[in-house]
């Protein structure tokens, strides 16, 4: 049985490496969002008109999909630590399904934007829109691959109650995708 004391600075849940990655990612995306807001303050008319072209309902549903997916991953980690690997695997599959739902909806949104000519070079707003959401899309895709690999290994019996660190780490990466989207969604769609 692992006896890690998470209260020690160098042993946060999921391991210190993933937390360093999370901090770097949050800083990077925050810098992008701040640059976006800065550009928006320079040309408010363009940004307001462009924001009006975004589908806020899709943005809302996508936020709810990611948050619910994060809940299932958190529960999967909890079940694994409690020794219930079957339930843990089931919750991981549900989380992945919701993640796929996010990507499909985002894809639908992307196709609509391209069809209307709102591509990367349309204006500054859409340059930032594509860069910020595109990088986030890639993170979600990577997160899904990580969750899939971990779940398949859990099925093989690699991960269990006394070996759950990798699942915690993968879960932390998935939650990071939540966090970044929580920062992106209001700035791109609502404010």
């Amino acid at each position: 049985m692992e006896t890690i004391n998470h209260k020690q600075f160098f042993y946060p849940p999921g391991g210190i490496l993933i937390w360093i990655i999370i901090l770097v990612e949050v800083i990077t995306f925050s810098a992008g969002i701040i640059a976006f807001a800065w550009e928006g303050s320079l040309s408010p008319e363009v940004f307001e008109a462009s924001q009006g072209m975004l589908n806020t309902k899709i943005g809302l549903v996508n936020t709810l999909l990611l948050l619910t997916s994060g809940f299932f991953v958190a529960e999967a980690v909890r079940f694994l630590k409690a020794g219930n690997t079957i339930k843990s695997q089931q919750w991981m599959w549900v989380a992945m399904l919701l993640g796929v739902g996010f990507l499909v909806l985002k894809g639908v949104e992307y196709v609509g934007k391209i069809q209307h000519g709102f591509d990367l070079s349309h204006n500054t707003f859409f340059t930032y829109y594509w860069l910020l959401t595109g990088f986030h899309f890639l993170h979600v895709l990577t997160g899904l691959v990580i969750l899939l690999m971990l779940t398949l290994k859990m099925r093989q019996g690699v991960y269990h109650q006394s070996n759950s660190l990798d699942i915690e780490t993968g879960g932390a990466f998935w939650h990071m995708c939540d966090l970044i989207w929580l920062l992106l969604f209001p700035v791109l769609y609502l404010i």
Binding site: I34, S41, T56, L60, P186
Partner: protein, 79 residues
């Protein structure tokens, strides 16, 4: 009081739907402070409960909170 993940998810959904309707009702500019506050609350709920920072060294939460304050400050001042 023990807070479980389901109640955290419920709070997150309420805050998300709430911020959506706030911005739909009277435009974001009038509710900017509310929207940013909701973002901060949601991020903190995710990191404390889903990512289990509640059991980690307080410094991790402090660093993340500091980043969030910088993010919120810039977004607030630039809008």
């Amino acid at each position: 009081m023990k807070i479980n993940n389901a109640s955290v998810l419920f709070a997150l959904i309420l805050l998300t739907v709430g911020s959506y309707f706030f911005s739909e009702e009277s435009g974001a500019s009038g509710n900017l402070a509310f929207l940013i506050l909701f973002v901060l609350l949601k991020v903190l709920l995710v990191v404390i409960y889903f990512m289990e920072l509640k059991v980690a060294h307080l410094a991790w939460l402090a660093v993340l909170s500091l980043m969030l304050i910088v993010y919120a400050g810039f977004v607030f001042s630039l809008n």
